[in-house]
């Protein structure tokens, strides 16, 4: 996975709450096994010529700024793949749905959660800049900087920050515990044997 340290680029304002994964990646509109993810991103909203991602300055947007509970709905990781296919590697929101947040981390995308005054300031500044000047997200310093005001600090769980900074392979991390997994299986086969066997008793 590509490590995430800093990211600089246009920040697109989509200041709505509860944007769901059906909206982010309307899979209903491209049902191929290997769809065009860039084309899929907000495909339905993009039928409206005025939609933010149709505007020239956001064709290479790197940051998306949204409202509350971003990414609710299904578990489909395609929502994150559509964002990365566009080049968006950071979503700033006032909260993320649990599974979507996890899917971001799995793909080297920073789910940057802000609330209160910080969120208000970033939303206002991103809207005012309107893509004319870039914003920078610095995961080392945990700041967002850009036109219209001072750097805004953000918090992130240290473990998630480390994982993004180092671009760690999640499965690789877990496989370091292969012995623990085997030991658990051994213990459970004795203590709760029904958990370790999924046998069809008719066969």
């Amino acid at each position: 996975m590509t490590p995430f340290t800093t990211l600089t680029g246009a920040a697109a304002p989509l200041l709505l709450d509860d944007i769901n994964t059906d909206q982010i990646a309307p899979q209903q509109m491209d049902r191929r096994l290997d769809p065009d993810y860039r084309a899929m991103l907000f495909r339905r909203q993009r039928q409206d010529a005025g939609f933010v991602l149709n505007r020239p300055q956001f064709q290479n947007a790197a940051i998306l700024v949204a409202g509350r509970n971003f990414g609710c709905g299904s578990a489909r990781e395609t929502a994150v793949w559509a964002l990365t296919a566009w080049g968006i590697r950071c979503v700033v929101a006032r909260g993320f749905a649990d599974i979507f947040r996890e899917n971001c981390l799995q793909n080297g995308v920073l789910p940057l959660e802000l609330d209160g005054a910080g969120a208000d300031a970033v939303a206002a500044r991103v809207a005012a800049a309107d893509g004319a000047a870039p914003f920078t997200v610095d995961l080392v310093a945990q700041t967002i900087s850009g036109p219209g005001g001072p750097d805004v600090h953000f918090d992130i769980a240290p473990a998630d920050r480390m994982r993004l900074l180092e671009g760690l392979d999640d499965i690789g991390l877990t496989l370091k515990h292969a012995d623990d997994i085997a030991a658990w299986e051994g213990r459970t086969a004795t203590d709760q044997p029904w958990l370790q066997s999924a046998r069809d008793h008719r066969r």
């Binding site: 709505l16 709450d17 509860d18 769901n20 059906d22 909206q23 309307p26 899979q27 209903q28 049902r31 191929r32 096994l33 339905r44 509350r68 509970n69 609710c72 709905g73 299904s74 578990a75 489909r76 990781e77 994150v80 909260g95 749905a97 649990d98 599974i99 996890e102 899917n103 799995q106 793909n107 769980a157 240290p158 473990a159 480390m162 994982r163 760690l168 999640d170 499965i171 991390l173 877990t174 496989l175 515990h177 292969a178 623990d180 997994i181 658990w184 299986e185 459970t188 709760q192 044997p193 029904w194 958990l195 370790q196 066997s197 999924a198 046998r199 069809d200 008793h201 008719r202």
Partner: protein, 463 residues
């Protein structure tokens, strides 16, 4: 120290703590489906990693499979590559697949409980957000994305942040024609679509206890619509009786031993929750959504609310409503009874009880899609297919069908659809389709009346 049931299950499945602070939680059963299996297996193979426990892993064809009678791989042409890749991948890795044509094929969240793959106190993962359904049996389930699916395939654990604990107590008794679906919609309306975020929810209280297992599965199914990844009901005798003798459940001495353990699966009396919510069910009536997220719910006798925000205005516009009109009486073009939420046998029986001896109103397209092929067979043995067909319903082959339209089953633009599914998002059931979520009985009543109606009045001959 007193523990919640969540703590007990979590603790007993904790394999190790990763240095990055994540808990490795062992996954006892893992069920995949056609939409995500092809990609996850391809990724795994690219990295030359084996499936660690194919014997604990299952797959089913549900999302892209056609519901037309006589279907084959190509009935839904867009689904064919998914079905074939899932079939080939399952065969390569020795994973049991409930394939097209298998007598037990169906929606993963319906198949896993009914075959007894899911057990009380066990952990469960599905690459689908409604994995939480099987919490109805007292299991702790996690919906996951494609990368996490690959992670479970390779390691048989999930690397998780420990959620907080929430308890939702449903007090009182549910009235006639007031179901688990109505209760769940009410809870979502009360706590909101993000109300459970970061939490694992235990459903408790007299009304929850009074639900049969299928009702509990429906209630837990909608947990993700509250923003929580897992929700469950502590297992009890109702659960154990329902599970006994199912093909994958333990048998004989192993059953007795499991049963003794399952008896300990309760939250201790003074265990602490991070959040508690209580819902009074005494006055609960059948519920329907009026808007474009599942929290936009009102009772059937209520009026659609007036727009109090831009978001509400957008939802009303999309739904073709002005706000302030009575919900009952809105003309309906389509009715869908199906999905992992409400397509088990008891759901179809509840709908059939409304439909029996009546006809679908002219101009309404009505479709029933059983949650599994086993449910379909059981329903046919009881003659339910005749009840539906002779009333004018279509009777489909099992799968997700119109829930997300992934198999090509969709409504028409601007069509008002009463649906027993779980998401009334814009365009989910087809472009510009106006979805109202409701229980099977309420959906059936709408098909008969041709408009939204209080099923209790319809049954009393007063509507």
């Amino acid at each position: 120290m007193p523990q919640t049931l969540f703590d007990k299950i979590w603790q007993s499945h904790l394999v190790a703590k990763r240095p990055d602070g994540r808990d490795l939680i062992y996954i006892d059963r893992h069920v995949m489906h056609d939409l995500h299996t092809p990609h996850a297996l391809a990724q795994l193979e690219k990295k030359q990693r084996p499936v660690r426990r194919p014997d604990l892993t299952f797959a089913t064809q549900d999302h892209t499979i056609a519901s037309k009678p006589g279907r084959d791989d190509t009935t839904n042409p867009e689904g064919a590559p998914f079905l074939r890749a899932t079939r080939a991948g399952s065969a390569r890795h020795g994973i049991r697949l409930f394939d097209l044509g298998d007598p037990e094929q169906g929606i993963s969240h319906v198949v896993a409980p009914e075959l007894g793959m899911v057990l009380p106190g066990a952990t469960h993962a599905v690459p689908d957000s409604h994995a939480c359904t099987v919490g109805g049996l007292g299991a702790l389930a996690f919906g996951c994305g494609a990368s996490e699916l690959e992670h479970v395939l390779a390691t048989q654990v999930l690397a998780l942040r420990r959620p907080r604990r929430m308890r939702v107590r449903a007090d009182g008794r549910l009235g006639t024609q007031v179901t688990a679906k109505d209760l769940a919609l009410r809870i979502i309306a009360e706590i909101g679509v993000a109300g459970g975020r970061g939490h694992s929810i235990e459903y408790a209280g007299a009304a929850t206890r009074g639900l049969d297992v299928e009702g509990r599965l429906t209630l837990c199914n909608l947990t993700i619509e509250m923003g929580a990844r897992s929700g469950f009901v502590a297992p009890d005798d109702t659960t154990f009786q329902w599970l006994a003798g199912r093909p994958f459940a333990p048998q004989g001495a192993a059953w007795d031993r499991a049963l003794a353990h399952w008896g300990t699966l309760v939250s201790d009396a003074d265990a602490e929750f991070d959040r508690e919510v209580a819902i009074d069910c005494a006055t609960l009536e059948p519920q329907l959504t009026w808007g474009t997220d599942p929290s936009q719910t009102v009772g059937v006798s209520a009026r659609v609310p007036q727009a109090a925000s831009d978001g509400m205005r957008r939802a009303l516009d999309y739904m073709g409503l002005s706000g302030g009109e009575p919900l009952a009486g809105l003309a309906v073009g389509r009715v869908f009874i199906g999905s992992c939420t409400n397509a088990r046998l008891s759901d179809l029986e509840a709908a059939a009880a409304v439909v029996r001896g009546r006809k679908v109103a002219p101009g309404v397209t009505a479709l029933v899609v059983p949650g599994s092929t086993s449910v379909k067979r059981a329903a046919e043995a009881r003659g339910l297919d005749d009840v539906f067909r002779s009333a004018g319903f279509l009777w489909g082959e099992s799968g997700c069908s119109m829930c997300a339209g992934g198999n090509g089953d969709r409504g028409l633009p601007q069509e008002r659809c009463v649906s027993t599914t779980n998401r009334n998002f814009e365009n989910r059931q087809g472009t510009a389709v106006r979805t109202h979520l409701a229980s099977p009985a309420t959906a059936a009543a709408a098909a008969i009346a041709g408009h939204i109606v209080d099923v209790r009045k319809l049954m009393a001959g007063a509507a």
